[in-house]
């Protein structure tokens, strides 16, 4: 369903429309929130932030350009997550990582950022090449910070199988990306 169709559906039948928008963009919003809050918040904080994002976007839907719905969701999610991260960090007397705050990297950081992006691209490609369900397991573990038991619930495997598959997958990835000497 396109963004325009989604907006139309929400206007005609808010309940169905809201659900459709949520279903379509849940993974996207969750992934963005988790990227920022994953390191400083709990899974509950992430859930709260995702719910806040959808509630805000649905509340302000009338003023949003239908073509930029995804971008608006992404930006809202990012800002909500950053705010939550700042609040949580203040509570814990920690600092917000500079990579989230500094929107414009300095010249010196550009090269490092490019190297990181290159590595990230290779890493993602290698993870994708693992195939299902190993790629999902690795992403769940290292991106969404989930435990083996939780991953087992999502993938329909047993926790032991998840552990085994994960360790094999990591071994393969480690071999493929050995030149980078990553920490796993």
């Amino acid at each position: 369903m396109t963004d325009a169709q989604l907006c139309e559906l929400i206007r005609n039948s808010p309940e169905t429309g809201n659900r459709a928008l949520f279903d379509q963009y849940f993974n996207y919003v969750y992934a963005i929130v988790c990227r920022i809050l994953g390191s400083c918040g709990t899974p509950e904080d992430v859930e709260e932030c995702v719910a806040d994002t959808f509630a805000e976007v649905l509340f302000r839907l009338e003023g949003i350009n239908a073509d930029s719905l995804k971008a608006y969701l992404g930006t809202t999610a990012k800002h909500k997550a950053l705010n939550a991260c700042r609040t949580l960090s203040a509570q814990k007397q920690r600092t917000v990582p500079m990579e989230f705050v500094a929107e414009l990297p300095s010249e010196q950081q550009v090269e490092q950022a490019a190297e990181d992006a290159h590595l990230r691209r290779m890493l993602l490609d290698s993870i994708k090449a693992l195939g299902e369900p190993d790629s999902s397991i690795v992403i769940q573990k290292y991106y969404y910070n989930r435990k083996s038991a939780e991953i087992a619930e999502i993938t329909g495997l047993t926790p032991a199988a998840v552990r085994k598959r994960c360790s094999r997958a990591v071994k393969r990835l480690r071999q493929e990306l050995s030149e980078f000497d990553l920490i796993w």
């Binding site: 809201n18 949520f22 849940f26 993974n27 996207y28 969750y30 992934a31 963005i32 988790c34 990227r35 920022i36 994953g38 390191s39 859930e47 995702v50 719910a51 806040d52 959808f54 509630a55 649905l58 509340f59 992404g74 990012k78 814990k92 007397q93 600092t95 990579e99 010196q108 950081q109 550009v110 090269e111 490092q112 990181d116 992006a117 590595l119 990230r120 890493l123 993602l124 993870i127 994708k128 790629s135 999902s136 992403i139 573990k141 290292y142 991106y143 969404y144 910070n145 435990k147 999502i154 552990r163 360790s167 990591v170 480690r174 030149e179 980078f180 000497d181 990553l182 920490i183 796993w184």
Partner: protein, 581 residues
């Protein structure tokens, strides 16, 4: 290319586009979680809509004018009520002063007073003594944990080394690795605090809270009724009536006597009467005789090694933790979590990987065998006989990114030497034997000299060391009390951290100025030996530097329950304490 980055950091450093790509790869959550989040969304949306409607209505209120007689009537009524109240009060006071209460009334009043006093006491207890059972329900409803601080670790406080049980649930028992639960302090939102053991006992804190705040503990599954798996050694030992635990057993020379076991529960009937043989017996210190060395601990058979930090997604401090080294390499974990990497032995015992590696009961090969991730770093070269072939500044030659700040690379009696930016790791010394290392290590170990830097055209700054006032600071009367606050470099100014312990009690400590923010640990270390403001003024006077080089920084003491807000006004007030006469 050496990256030394954790895969999590690489993935979390992704841009939104990559996040979108990751979102497409797998479901972000299970259906139950998704439904829960959707329900929360609907709830919040309804709240937003409700709030909006309420706001909208406020604009639709119509303004009506009351009839003028209502104002006079209302004024008269109010006067009557006040007059009545005053008269009634006066009468009541008069009566209570004259009349003595009847015994029943006196009893009742006494009861009421007692009840009130008890209630007041209870309330006081609720706020002062959080342990009180009665306050638990209320506290649980209103309090939340702001932080849990392990003072033993952070402040290096001494404690006895023994496992201290702090909690248990149906499946597990939880221990601290030393007797220091009284140093692990739970700070609540209302400013109160208590030790972790009490908090866990009363249910005000949970083990999850300990994970959340990075407090380390040991988890031991409760013992089951199943007999433990026995190793071959144990089986043999039990068959011959010897000590069953190879770690506990030692050997002794038995001449004619049969081997004995000091523990009656462990001893079994034996008929072995071999002479001139080494027999293992229990190593009770009172029973030990001429003993041979302990049975090698390698007798233990590893059943499994589990990285619980990774398995259970525990949050761990992000820094490399060295777990082992051999002749060639050093081995690290990607975070401070060796205590979460547990080696399980077939005899049912377990220990952390660092201890196991140290004792030789586990090897690096075992880590590989059980898929435990670690990092290998070749040991630094010793290049003692090799000569320097060249020194290359890769930062300049290759235009590598560097942070803008002076970097101290060396010092001698007279001077300190700095690079104009943080790039000593890019200045590489190449030796004749083909090895290389960075300049800082080379200078530190004496393998390179500053003249070598000049020789190869590597620029650096020379700063003469601060010459303190002609008065020797060690002669200052406060030197004995606060030696750490003297002899600081004022090259980048001084940072004075001030914390308040009560309404009129202020303490402070001083550190050298730096380009970076000081860590909590550094600031909290000052709190171990805080000086009063008057004392600090005297100490600062020794340095003979201006106000503009001294930075007054109010902070709060995490251990103190005295609360104050550090805002602009507070900062001004504290600064005034130092600078106003």
């Amino acid at each position: 290319m050496k990256y030394h980055k954790h895969i999590k950091d690489i993935l979390h450093g992704a841009d939104d586009q990559t996040a979108a790509e990751i979102a497409e790869m797998t479901n972000a959550a299970d259906e139950k979680t998704k439904e829960r989040i959707y329900a929360m969304t609907c709830e919040r949306l309804a709240q937003n809509n409700g709030a909006a409607e309420t706001n909208g209505e406020s604009f639709r209120v119509t303004v009506t004018r009351r009839p003028s007689w209502m104002r006079s009537a209302a004024t008269a009524a109010a006067c009557l009520v006040i007059a009545g109240g005053l008269t009634g009060g006066a009468v009541m006071l008069h009566r209570s002063a004259q009349s003595t209460p009847t015994p029943e009334f006196a009893e009742q009043t006494k009861d009421e007073q007692t009840t009130t006093a008890v209630t007041q006491l209870k309330i006081q207890k609720e706020w002062t003594e959080i342990d009180n059972e009665e306050s638990t329900t209320k506290s649980l409803e209103t309090l939340y944990i702001e932080k849990i601080v392990d003072r033993a670790k952070e402040e290096g406080l001494p404690f006895d080394e023994a496992l201290e049980k702090i909690h248990e649930d149906e499946e597990n028992e939880y221990f601290l690795s030393g007797i220091y639960s009284h140093y692990v302090i739970v700070h609540y939102s209302d400013g109160t605090q208590e030790d972790i053991k009490s908090a866990l006992k009363s249910g005000r804190a949970t083990i999850t809270d300990m994970d959340r705040f990075g407090i380390h503990y040991w988890k031991e599954p409760k013992e089951t009724t199943e007999p433990p798996i026995k190793t071959t050694e144990e089986t043999n030992a039990s068959q011959t009536g010897l000590c069953s635990d190879p770690l506990q057993s030692t050997t002794t020379i038995g001449e004619t006597s049969s081997p004995v076991c000091s523990d009656p529960l462990q001893s079994t009937t034996t008929t072995t009467t071999t002479t001139e043989t080494y027999y293992p017996v229990c190593s009770h210190p009172l029973q030990s005789t001429t003993t041979k060395p302990q049975v090698p601990t390698t007798n233990k058979v590893i059943a499994d090694i589990v990285d619980h930090a990774n398995e259970d997604g525990l949050s761990v401090p992000s820094a490399l933790e060295k777990i082992h080294e051999d002749n060639e390499n050093e081995y690290f974990l990607g975070g401070i979590y060796s205590h979460h990497v547990i080696v399980y032995y077939t005899d049912g015992t377990q220990e952390d990987i660092k201890s196991a590696l140290k004792a030789g009961r586990a090897t690096i090969a075992d880590l590989d065998r059980f898929d435990i991730s670690y990092l290998t770093e070749p040991k630094e070269t010793t290049a003692t006989n090799a000569t320097i072939v060249k020194i290359v500044n890769r930062a300049m030659e290759e235009g590598l990114p560097v942070a803008d700040a002076l970097e101290k690379i060396h010092e001698d009696n007279k001077n300190e030497y700095y690079f104009p930016a943080i790039y000593s790791h890019y200045v590489i010394v190449h030796y004749s034997d083909g090895t290389q290392e960075d300049i800082k290590s080379a200078l530190k170990n004496g393998r390179a000299k500053l003249s070598d830097l000049d020789r190869f055209g590597i620029d650096y700054y020379t700063e003469p060391k601060e010459v303190e006032n002609s008065v020797d600071p060690t002669l200052h009367p406060l030197y004995k009390k606060y030696p750490e606050y003297f002899n600081l470099s004022t090259f980048k100014g001084l940072e004075v951290y001030v914390w308040q312990m009560s309404g009129s009690s202020y303490y402070c400590g001083v550190l050298e100025g730096t380009n970076r923010l000081k860590t909590e640990e550094e600031i909290q270390a000052l709190m171990m030996n805080g000086a009063t403001i008057e004392e600090m003024k005297e100490i600062l006077a020794v340095y003979g530097i201006g106000k503009n080089e001294i930075f007054i920084m109010p902070v709060s003491n995490p251990v103190s329950s005295y609360w104050y807000e550090i805002d602009q006004d507070y900062r001004r007030k504290i600064e005034a304490m130092f600078w106003d006469e």
